[in-house]
Subunit: 365 residues, 2 copies
């Protein structure tokens, strides 16, 4: 490709970033804000870096309307590390059980780690129907004495998404929002903790965002190793040790870009429009394309679909690749096709895929 050509990037994560942000990072690469240094070369204790760091926290607070009684942290290790940190901090020693709402592979990984630290149970699950839908759940499923309820807000592999979040009464609600954070407005006050890897909607991999209610922090187990204790990072504003400074800088720039797009209300409208272009192509294909997810549970981030048979799927993926589309393979564990249409995927890229899908069908049916 020439320097100006950009791929049609449907990667599931790490994923497309806004071109404007990449261009800015490029421009500032050897001299950030007249410092004579790259942002990567700044001390994490310098005022120049601290402005980047605190700026990113403030932008996240503003755009997501995070209430004052929540802390915002930047950690490392991805959601997979949170699967361990959550029960270490909030289950072990509590004498309670944790309730997991099962919507796919990520929920399965999360509950498996939890069982190392205490009792966890599946309060609901759509596994028996291949995780095609968000399962029914109400607080009646709880006994009210759970340590917390955990859900995965969007399921990259199966292409489903919670469109309304459940009430859990006095039981803390913890959500893994790795694949849809900042793709839509949410009412943060309904959650006691939200966590997300940055590499879908928010920046490069290597930064984990944690939004945590101060009341929940007070319930944390005391005997947790320093780096695995949320309070460590709260006390030091995520500067207990060297944070992933470049990733946080990029995150801040992506947040600026979201603001420039009109904030989360505009972003979500655009995301729904983008996803619906592709869902419409599926729905109007007379069964040539079939969506994996039930309509009411469809994700606006990850569109999973199949073709009439595996041979056609293979041909579709090969031809798509030659036409400049990237990342359309389904997850290794389920096969098929998947288009991830995160915030930074341009609408024109979705139009191009929709047209390609129609042409492919025309040629092959």
């Amino acid at each position: 490709m020439t320097n100006n050509q950009r791929a049609f990037n449907f990667n599931a994560g790490p994923a497309a970033l806004p071109l404007e942000v990449l261009e800015k990072a490029k421009q500032e690469m050897t001299n950030f804000q007249d410092s004579g240094m790259s942002v990567m070369e700044l001390s994490h204790r310098s005022p120049t870096y601290e402005a980047v760091h605190n700026g990113a926290i403030e932008k996240l607070r503003t755009l997501l309307e995070i209430p004052e009684d929540y802390e915002v942290l930047f950690l490392q290790g991805g959601a997979s590390t949170q699967f361990t940190m959550i029960p270490m901090n909030f289950l072990q020693g509590s004498g309670k059980k944790a309730a997991y709402l099962m919507t796919g592979s990520w929920s399965e990984k999360a509950i498996a780690e939890t069982k190392l630290f205490g009792e966890a149970y599946e309060a609901t699950s759509s596994k028996s129907s291949q995780y095609r839908s968000i399962p029914d759940f109400s607080s009646n499923h709880l006994n009210g004495a759970e340590a917390y309820v955990h859900l995965t807000s969007n399921n990259t592999i199966y292409g489903t998404q919670w469109h309304e979040f459940p009430e859990t009464g006095k039981v803390p609600l913890i959500a893994d929002m790795s694949s849809d954070i900042m793709s839509r407005p949410i009412d943060v006050s309904k959650f006691d903790m939200i966590y997300a890897g940055a590499q879908k909607n928010l920046g490069p991999s290597g930064v984990t965002i944690v939004i945590i209610k101060k009341d929940l922090l007070k319930q944390a187990h005391s005997n947790v190793p320093t780096m695995l204790r949320y309070q460590t990072h709260v006390d030091k504003n995520s500067l207990y040790n060297t944070p992933p400074t470049f990733g946080i800088y990029m995150l801040g720039e992506v947040l600026n870009w979201i603001q420039d797009q009109g904030g989360l209300n505009s972003i979500t409208e655009k995301n729904i429009r983008k996803a619906n272009l592709i869902y419409k192509t599926i729905d109007e294909s007379d069964g040539f394309y079939t969506g994996h997810a039930q309509q009411s549970s469809r994700s606006y981030m990850n569109i999973t679909f199949n073709l009439p048979n595996e041979a056609l799927e293979k041909q579709f993926l090969n031809e798509a690749k030659k036409a400049g589309f990237t990342g359309l393979n389904g997850h290794r564990s389920v096969g098929g096709c998947r288009a991830s249409t995160y915030n930074a995927v341009p609408e024109a890229t979705c139009v191009a895929l929709s047209e390609f899908m129609q042409q492919f069908q025309h040629r092959n049916s």
Copy 2:
């Protein structure tokens, strides 16, 4: 500063990166290897990224001459997370004690975490002399049944460095080399595990390198959470979850740069020459500048020194800042001055500091 001016960067970490590497990253920012994407936008499961990932591992193996019976991992969370992972994997359940060789704040943090998982003791320490030297140690200090011996190869805060590593017989030797890895050739076979944050000599913050002997892996405790188990990352070639892909790409480019400089023999010669320029200035200052470290324990990475009084130190740091020097403040915990002269700090930058120090002395004595 104008776009071509670079700061005299003596930051302790994150620290200076080679300008050539930053320029290459800049050039490839929106289109890596004709992919039409930034390296940050590649899937970590794509062949293009896997070549970056495996290329960085191979370069590290070649430059450090890592024997075949060692694994090379890229993790997250910095050395601080290793302080916990090491005893979780290799102390708990072993019925043994861990021996720590105490050379400063990082050793102190490492042993404190270890005590959460079992017994640890200080086999030697130079704390009583303000960590001015590397303390005496021989394997006679051990009872031979320790789980492991742990040392910090270079001490950023006090400016000391192990120049010869101790023999520990059959007891595994584990070293935190965060601040001097790849600054000199080492005999990897003397160690059972080496770990290092990348942000001093090797790239941006957010990548932790672990070099671990297969024999040691076999001794690991079985009941460790997935992300905190070394074997997890060995089994998946550090791709169990999404790695910090951009950081690993930068690490690979810094390794290419080290190779272009002539490898570790050339790098260490240059590093010694750079540090000695500043040590000579201290030693020939008739006591105006005094080094913190004893001569035989001096670090070639971090040069710690004081001026006759705190007022002069403050003035020195202020004037240095105005003259374009960055990062000369001593660590918050000890004060004074510190110049970190990692691999990517150009010799001319050290010459400039030496001259500035002489001129400052001339004006103020």
